[in-house]
Symmetry: C2
Subunit: 275 residues, 2 copies
Amino acid sequence: VSSGVDRTVFCVSDHTGLTAETFAHSLLTRFPGVAPHYETRPFVDTVEKVEQVVDEIDAVAALGPRPIVFSTVSEAALLSRLERANGLVLSMFGAFVEELAREFRVEPSQVVGAYHGMRDTALYQVRLDAVDFALTTDDGLGLEHYRDAEVIVLGVSRVGKTPTSLYLAMQYGIRAANYPLTLDGKQGPGLPPAVAGFQDRLHGLTIDPIRLYQIRQKRRPDSAYASLERCAEDVERVERMFRAERIPVTDTTARSIEEIAATIIEGSHLIRHLD
Amino acid sequence: VSSGVDRTVFCVSDHTGLTAETFAHSLLTRFPGVAPHYETRPFVDTVEKVEQVVDEIDAVAALGPRPIVFSTVSEAALLSRLERANGLVLSMFGAFVEELAREFRVEPSQVVGAYHGMRDTALYQVRLDAVDFALTTDDGLGLEHYRDAEVIVLGVSRVGKTPTSLYLAMQYGIRAANYPLTLDGKQGPGLPPAVAGFQDRLHGLTIDPIRLYQIRQKRRPDSAYASLERCAEDVERVERMFRAERIPVTDTTARSIEEIAATIIEGSHLIRHLD
C-alpha cells in the first residue's frame, strides 16, 4: 500500500544478509518516491550460488526497471561475477575494506571473509542473558531481580514496554525490566512502591492517546479499558507522574522499535554492549 | 578479553545509529587483529552536536591511534564539519546516495534526511504482532495459535528456541512459535502430538552436547538435567527424530542469533517482512 514507484531490491551477502538489509532499508527510506520490494539472498559464497542470483536479477530486469543490488559479498571473484548482472550493483564493503586495510596496515588479501571468534561468543551470551532477564522481569514480574536492571521501563498497558525491553536486550545486551502503570485508583499519585527505590534507572514511555485507543481497540474492542476517555486519562496521569518524579520520557507514537530503543539509551545514558 | 590492537570506533548518525553500528561491526569482524571499542553517537543533527562529537574524537586521537568514524550523517554541512575531525572518517551513504539519486532521477538536494512514512508504521505493527505471537506461543504455550505460525521451532531445553523466535519476530516480523522436546521417556519416538499436524512448518534446532552442558550447568549446576550424559542423550534423540521426520535442522553451537535466524529462514523458505 504505497504510492511510490515499485523497484526490486536484492540484498546479496556471503553471510546473513542483515547488514545489507539494514543498510538498504536505511538508505532507501531517504527516497520516499520509491517503493522497494526486498529480496534477500544470504550465504551466497560459491560461484554456483552467485550465478543463480544473477539469473534472478536478470529475470526481474527483463520485466521492468533494473533491480538495485546491495552486496556485501567480499570475495573478489564472486563480486565481479555479481557485478555483471543486469542491475545497479552497489558493493558496500569494497572501498571501505581497502581504506581500513591501509589504516590497519594489513594486506587486503589477508582480510577474511566473515570472521567469528570468541568475542562474538561472549557477546552472544551477554545478549541471551539479557533476553532471559527481560522475560523474567516482564510486566512487573520478578521484582527481586530489579536491582540487576540497567533500566526499568514504565508505562501504561499497550504503550510498547515488552517489545522495547526485548529489543534493548537482543540488540544491545541491556538488562531492561518493565513495570506496568495501572492507575486504576488503587495506586497513589507517587511512584509505585515496587520501583520507588530505583529512581535513577527509571524510564517512562508515553504515547498519543488516539494511537493508544487504536491499539487497545484491536486488543479488547469496545471495552472500558479501550475507550478514548480511559486512554486519555491513563496517558495524562502517567505524564503528570513522570514530570513530578523527573523521569526521562520517550514518546512511542511515531517511532519504530529501533528509534524507541535509541532514544531510551540516549535519554537514560545506557551503555550499548556491542563488543 | 581480546588479543587484537585496541582502536576506538565512533558510529555517528543523525538517526538511531543502528545502521552505522551494524555496518561497522560487520566490516570490522573482517579484521581479527583489531579490537574495536565502540562509541555510538545517535541523533547528531545540529552543528553543536557535531562539534561535540568532533571534540570527543580529537580527545581520543590525542591519546593514541586516531579513531575510525563510521558516519551516516546526511546533511552536507554537518558531514563536512565531521570530516575535519582527527579520525578516519568513512561516510557510508555519500557515494550511494548519489548513485541512487541518478538511478531514480531525483535531485540529490531533494533526498530527505531520514524519512518515516506509513509504510514504517505498518511494518512496526507487523513486528509488534509477531513479538506478541512469539510470547503467546513460547515454549509450548498457546497451542491453539499454532495454525497461525509461519514456523514452529523445536528443540531441547536451552538450545536457544526463545531468543531465536523473538529475533525472527522482532527483526523480520515472522510469526515463530516454539515447542520444547522433553524426551524424558513420556514422549514416544515420533513427533509430539501437539506439532504432528504442522510438519510443513517445523524447524529443528540442535547443538553440540558439550556446549549444551556448559549452558545447562550455568542454569542448574550439578543436576541430572545438566549432566553431560543427559545432554548427549537429549541431542542424540532429537537429531534422530529430526532425520526420521525430515525436519530441516540448524545447529546453534557457534552461531549468533542473527546467523541462527538467517539459517532458519533459508532452510525453511520463510518470508522476511521487510516492507
